[in-house]
């Protein structure tokens, strides 16, 4: 899976992003950057605003303020369905595969923003190489897959559009320890190939295994940032967020 086959990856810059639900502020003016090939994690307790941040970034919930650029291009006004054309792939929390469609159709839908040609066919082969199980089960309805297989399908589907940045929300949720290991391997492989990753994850092993730096969120704001190595040694992070 080659990242950046649609041009050079740019830096994702999020500035002053905020989200309100009714009168309640879920995210207040947060900012961070993801450089090309970098992997950034967002950690924090439930309700800290991690998922809202990702959804606002993707344009899936209305933003009450903020600016988003990717490689200098302003994406603030880009609609959710067009984010994929700008090279951002999204794997939502809870998978959301099209359960009535076959595995193959789910993957093809991931590439619907592109013409079906040799490039997309090659990408399908690459996804199959990354997740052999998706090739074996290509004709099964996605709803008949186990939770772990659906998670792989959700990642594979996002990769089909050839993103330069992959945004993942809790990819390990509900997966067996062995499968968490497989997801970790896949994310590491993608990182090696130059894909940028933005990861929200509760599993500390996966977060610190994949990311180079992390943003710690608390009550909708950035409480601290640092390299993953520093943060994994920080006693407060260990105590409050990781429960170690």
């Amino acid at each position: 899976m080659k990242a950046a086959d649609t041009g050079p990856a740019g830096t994702l810059t999020v500035e002053d992003l905020s989200v309100h639900y009714g009168g309640v502020r879920a995210v207040g003016s947060i900012g961070f950057t993801v450089a090309p090939g970098e992997s950034v994690g967002i950690i924090g307790a439930n309700g800290a605003g991690k998922t809202s941040t990702l959804k606002a970034l993707m344009g899936l919930v209305p933003r009450s303020g903020g600016r988003i650029t990717l490689g200098g291009r302003d994406l603030t006004r880009v609609r959710a369905r067009d984010m994929v054309r700008h090279g951002i792939g999204y794997v939502p929390e809870g998978r959301h595969v099209f359960s009535g469609l076959s595995v193959e159709k789910n993957l093809m839908l991931g590439a619907y923003s592109r013409p079906w040609n040799d490039g997309t066919r090659r990408r399908l082969d690459e996804v199959h190489a990354l997740f052999p199980v998706l090739g074996e089960m290509r004709d099964r309805p996605a709803g008949a897959l186990s939770g772990g297989q659906q998670q792989m399908l959700a990642i594979g589907r996002a990769l089909m559009a050839g993103p330069r940045l992959l945004v993942l929300d809790e990819p390990s949720m509900g997966l067996s320890p062995k499968l968490v290991g497989s997801i970790l391997d896949v994310l590491l492989k993608l990182r090696e190939e130059g894909m940028s990753l933005l990861l929200v994850e509760q599993n500390a092993k996966l977060t610190f295994g994949v990311t180079s730096s992390c943003v710690v969120m608390e009550n909708g704001e950035v409480a601290m940032t640092g390299t993953s190595a520093e943060l994994s040694r920080d006693p407060r992070v260990r105590e409050v967020y990781l429960g170690l």
Binding site: A45, G148, G220
Partner: protein, 611 residues
Amino acid sequence: MKSRSAALVTLIAGACVLPYGLGGYTIHVVDIALIHALLAIGLGLAMGVSGQINLAQVAFFGVGAYGVAVLTTHYGYGFWAAAALAVPATVATGLLVGVPALRMQSHYLGIVTLGLALGFINWITNARITGGADGISGIPVPTLPGVDLSSEYLYYYLEVAVFALGLLFGLFVVHTSLGRRLRAMRDDSLAAGAMGAEIPYLRMTAFVLASLYGGLAGVLYGGLIRYVAPETFSIGNMFILLAMVIIGGRRSLVGCVVGAVGLTLVREWLSDFSTYAQLGYGVVVVLMVVFAPTGLAGIPARVRDLYRRRAGHHEARAELRPFTPYPPAAPATGQPVLLVAESVTKQFRGLRALDAVSLTVRAGEIRGIVGPNGSGKTTLFNVISGFYRATSGTVGFAGDDTTTARPYALSLAGMARTFQNLRLFGQLTVRENVLVALDRTRTRAIWQYAVWQPGVLARERRLRARADEVLERYGLTDFAEADPASLPYGIQRRIEIARAMAARPRLLLLDEPAAGLNGEEVRQLVRIVRSIRDTGTTVVLIEHNMGLVMSLCERITVLSGGRVIAEGTPDEVVAAPEVIEAYLGDSDLTEAGLPQPPTAEEVRRTEEAPS
């Protein structure tokens, strides 16, 4: 509260003086509007509140009206005697129309009820007793000592009284236990069943309510117009009725009333352009469904939200507070067997999801069930809790054979569960979610609604106080009025546990309670589950977080490919090579992210130590 009662007084005064300013024709339109409002309340109760697609409301209206017409003109009954028979006859019709709802839902139910309505229209157009296409005229004027009800002005007061009682009763139903169950059934009938809501009875209740209002409206119509003919009960009018409910807002009875009155008035204004009017309703309905799916009734809340956002009005951020442990009960003695599954097999077409699985859980135990994704863990929960019927094998709970028991029966017998994919009732507040489970009364207790409303209210007050206790204990007080879908996964999981425990179960089944929780939250979960067990509730949990399973469970059952591949103490199970091969992989349990599991020795020490 004060402004509310002031508004109510104004409304009542307005309703009383309204006829004084209106001409003869206008009061006729108002009389018709009130009849439509009653019909719309009935339809709103069935469709908006209970989620039962009912396209036979116009037939219920017809049964009421024709009932009065036939009984008075053919059989010589007085108006009131005829009305007293016509309304129960309509309710009986409602029960019949409701029977298909026991087997089918959504658009299938819509087609069947539409078919039944068409059958009714066909019958009244052709039967001799109904006067065929000519209908029946000469329905006598209802008599009331000292009041001449042939005056449409005075008839208005009769209608207002019936309408006001009908609206009050409807609101009373919606905002108390029965309505809450109906709404829970609408949002998620599976989860409602698991909380003890007797789904078949509730579906029938929805049709009884719809037909009761249909019958009342029909009787009033008969007395007002004193003539009935098939065209009043046509499918076209069913569509307008549907439009009233959708435009007004089907989930709010007041919205239904506003829609009914509004559309009746608009229809009168547009009566010179009737060809275009029908098209106009169609356009308005489409626009409403697309842009304001909650109807007119939902608009104030949307405006309020918008205003708050614009005004930068900030509410305090709600916070999940720590759990307060239950006071421990005396430990169960003797540890009788509570749950038994014996060689349970579940076959889905070509897939054998469970293959001769046997499981015995003793009272007071915390049992863990682990296994790879797709190994049949949730299927086993679904068989135990009555969602699936085992292809072969038996399940026993608390000494009874429950292999074929329905979820609501198991809930009433003391079994509660949570759901891996979160099944909170989306349109109910967090408090209402808990109230659904707290309310252990049987659905047949709804006779109280007809005869003893203060009893219902008193019980409602007790339940609310208890719900607040449950929310407080689980640290959810800040979220009591929140819409659960807007909350983060971790908090929704906590609500699921609180809701399940509100049913005071003997057995609690937890399906992946730690998914999406971070380390500290997992530690809190451990405290919650321990405390639940200490109240005497037996816990069976499915979980992938091995740290949690190791520190909580006395025994662990490992499933793989639908079979039990290992069972034993945590230490025995994690050492078994087949478990490592199938489930754990090369993952190191002591690595970051997994709270260090205490050894069995440590667990014993902490449990023996006086706390």
